[in-house]
C-alpha cells in the first residue's frame, strides 16, 4: 500500500510546444488583441519560463522589442544616409555609445558609430534618428529612416528562449529588412514578454488502478480488524502490566533468587547454586540505550 497510495494521485505536467513571435507596433488592432488575451511577464520571468523546448502551462510567446542597435555610416557632407554593418554589444548596453558621447562635429565627414534607435519613439518604416549637437546646445539633427523595416520571422527562431536571450544580456541578434534585402546581425534589445495562457495545462489526476489497490488494501485491513475484535478469544494486547499481574498471581518459584538481578546477570549466574547467585544491590544510573532489548536493537539495525 505504501507503494501505491502515493501514486494514486499524481501530477500531469504539460509540455507545450510554442512559437516565438515579435510584436509589431504598427498593428494597433493586433496589439490590442494580444494585450487582452495574454499574460504580461517581465523580462526575467519569461526568460526563465521559456527556458526549455516545451513549457508548462503556457503557449506562444510574444516579445516586445524596446531598443535597436546598429551602426550607421553617416556622411555629413552630403547627408546621404546608409545603414552599415551592425555591431553586437559584448555585454549589453555597455558597448552602445550614448548620444552624449558622440563627438560633434565629427573629425571626418564619415564616421561609423553605433546608434540606439529607441523603438518606442519610432514607427517601423517611418523611423527617425535624432542627433544632438554638443557644441550647439539645443541644435538637433533629425535623420529620417525611410523604407526601414524590422522583420522577425516566426518560424526559425531557436528554442528555448535562453539560447537567444541569456540572463546576462537582453540583447540578441536579429535580421533587419532594409530596402528589400536582409541584413544579418542587427541587435535588438528585448523587453516584456506576453505569454499565451493554456486551457489544458498541468493538472492533478487520479490513477484508478493504484486507487483500487489502496481501497482494497484498506478494506482488507478493516475486515481483518473487525474479525479480530469480533471473534478472537485471545487478549488483544498484552502489556507489561499484564505480565506483572500474571506473575504476581502465579509466582514462578524458579526465579525467586533473582530478585535484584538484571537480565544479563541472570543469564550469567543461572547455573550457579542459589547462594552464589546473589549480588549486592548497587545504586546506579544507566542510559536508555543500555537498557534496550535485543529486539529493539535488531529492529534499529534493519531500519
Amino acid at each position: 500500500m505504501s507503494i501505491s497510495y502515493n501514486s494514486a494521485v499524481f501530477s500531469v505536467r504539460t509540455g507545450q510546444d510554442y512559437s516565438i513571435r515579435f510584436l509589431n507596433k504598427t498593428d494597433a488592432a493586433g496589439l490590442e488583441r494580444i494585450f487582452s488575451s495574454t499574460t504580461r511577464l517581465p523580462l526575467k520571468s519569461w526568460q526563465s519560463l521559456y527556458n526549455s523546448q516545451d513549457v508548462p502551462d503556457a503557449g506562444d510567446l510574444w516579445i516586445t522589442v524596446d531598443g535597436l542597435s546598429f551602426t550607421a555610416s553617416i556622411d555629413f557632407s552630403n547627408h546621404t544616409w546608409t545603414l552599415g554593418l551592425p555591431v553586437l554589444p559584448a555585454d549589453g548596453t555597455q558597448s552602445v555609445v550614448p548620444w552624449d558621447e558622440i563627438s560633434w562635429p565629427p573629425e571626418t565627414h564619415q564616421v561609423m558609430m553605433p546608434i540606439i534607435l529607441k523603438w518606442d519613439n519610432n514607427q517601423s518604416g517611418q523611423g527617425s534618428l535624432e542627433l544632438k549637437d554638443q557644441t550647439l546646445p539645443g541644435k538637433r539633427f533629425v535623420v529620417p529612416l525611410e523604407n526601414y523595416t524590422t522583420s522577425m520571422p516566426i518560424f526559425d527562431w531557436p528554442k528555448p528562449v535562453s539560447i537567444i536571450a541569456s540572463d546576462q544580456s537582453t540583447w540578441m541578434k536579429h535580421f533587419v529588412m532594409y530596402n528589400e534585402s536582409w541584413m544579418n546581425g542587427n541587435v535588438t534589445r528585448l523587453g516584456d514578454g506576453y505569454s499565451t495562457p493554456l486551457t489544458n495545462g498541468s493538472s492533478i489526476q487520479l490513477a484508478i488502478p493504484f486507487m483500487l489497490i489502496v481501497v482494497i488494501c484498506n478494506a482488507l485491513k478493516v475486515i481483518a480488524m473487525f474479525f479480530t475484535l469480533r471473534w478472537s478469544t485471545l487478549p488483544h494486547l498484552v502489556t507489561q502490566g499484564d505480565a506483572i499481574s500474571s506473575f504476581l498471581e502465579h509466582s514462578d518459584a524458579s526465579t525467586l533468587s533473582y530478585g535484584t538481578l538484571d537480565r544479563a546477570t541472570i543469564v550469567g549466574v543461572s547455573d550457579l547454586p542459589v547462594s552464589k547467585r546473589l549480588r549486592p544491590w548497587k545504586v546506579e544510573s544507566r542510559t536508555y540505550f543500555a537498557m534496550l532489548s535485543v529486539w529493539t536493537t535488531t529492529a534499529l539495525l534493519f531500519s
Binding site: 505536467r13 504476581l248 537480565r263 544510573s285 540505550f289
Partner: protein
C-alpha cells in the same frame, strides 16, 4: 555500541544525501535557481524509465515510492524504540512510587493500558511526525506523467511519457527533518536514568523474578503495587525484593537480597 554505530551510519548516509544535492545542483537543469517545491520541480531521476507503457509506469511507481516503504520500516523501529523507552520508564517508576498496573482488561484498581502501548504525549507527536515525513517524502520523489502537446494543444503520443520526478528542495527539507528527529531521539536515548528496579529489558525471567510477593499479600495484582524490600514473613536470613501491594522499604546499597 551497535545502536550508536547505526545512528552514526544514518547520519553519514543523510550527510551523503546533502552532498549529492549540492553536487547535483552545480549547474544545468538542477541549478539552485531551479529549486522548486514538490511536483512543481521539473527534475527527473536519470534512472527512471522514460516510457508511457504499463511496465514503465510500474517501474517508476516503484522507484518513486520505495523510499516510502523504507520510511515505514524506520517508523516501526522508531516506534519500537519509543515504546521500549516508555516500558523502561514505567517499569522503573514502580520502584519510586506505588502504582496500579496498566493491563489490557482492567479489574478492580488496575488501569487500562495506553492506546497502542504509548501515552498520548508520545503517540501523537510520533504519528504526526510520521505523517509529515511521509508527506515530505511524497514531495521529494513522485510519479509524473509528461503530456507533450503541439502548438494546437494536441497530445503528441510518441513524445509523452511517464517518469519519476524529484524535488531537491523537498528532499533537502526531508533530510534535515529526518536528521532533526534522529538527533532528538538520540538525545533522549543517551539520557541517564536512576535505577530503582533491576532493568527488565522485556525479559520475562526478570519480570518473573520481581514478582514474588509475601504470602500474606492477597491478590496484589489488583491493587497499586511497588517494588522494594518486602516484609520478611518467613524469617529468612536474606531479605527479598518484589512487587507488592504492602509497605516496602528501599533496598540498601551493598546488601544482598533474594
Amino acid at each position: 555500541m551497535l545502536t550508536n554505530h547505526i545512528i552514526i551510519t544514518k547520519h553519514r548516509f543523510l550527510a551523503g544525501i546533502l552532498v549529492l544535492l549540492i553536487l547535483d545542483n552545480k549547474d544545468g537543469p538542477g541549478s539552485f535557481s531551479d529549486w522548486a517545491w514538490g511536483s512543481a520541480s521539473r527534475k527527473n531521476l536519470p534512472i527512471a524509465r522514460q516510457s508511457f507503457d504499463a511496465k514503465g509506469i510500474l517501474f517508476n511507481t516503484l522507484l518513486a515510492n520505495f523510499p516510502q516503504v523504507l520510511l515505514s520500516l524506520a517508523y516501526f523501529a522508531l516506534n519500537r524504540l519509543c515504546t521500549s523507552m516508555c516500558f523502561i520508564r514505567e517499569w522503573n517508576d514502580h520502584g519510586l512510587e506505588r502504582k496500579a498496573l496498566r493491563v489490557a482488561s482492567p479489574i478492580a484498581q488496575q488501569r487500562r493500558a495506553h492506546f497502542l502501548q504509548l501515552p498520548y504525549r508520545w503517540s501523537i507527536p510520533l504519528t504526526g511526525m510520521s505523517g509529515v515525513l511521509h508527506w515530505l517524502l511524497s514531495q521529494s520523489t513522485f510519479l509524473v506523467r509528461l503530456d507533450m502537446r503541439d502548438a494546437d494543444g494536441n497530445i503528441k503520443e510518441d513524445e509523452s511519457r511517464s517518469t519519476c520526478g524529484y524535488s531537491s528542495l523537498s528532499l533537502l527539507v526531508f533530510a534535515l527533518s529526518f536528521l532533526g528527529i534522529l538527533a532528538v531521539v538520540y538525545g533522549m536515548q543517551i539520557r541517564s536514568l536512576q535505577i530503582y528496579v533491576p532493568p527488565a529489558e522485556h525479559c520475562s525471567l526478570v519480570i518473573s523474578a520481581a514478582c514474588h510477593p509475601p504470602p500474606g499479600d492477597i491478590n496484589p495484582q489488583f491493587k497499586p503495587v511497588r517494588w522494594g524490600v518486602v516484609r520478611n514473613e518467613l524469617g529468612r536470613a536474606t531479605k527479598h525484593c518484589s512487587f507488592t501491594s504492602e509497605n516496602i522499604s528501599k533496598p540498601k546499597e551493598g546488601v544482598m537480597y533474594l
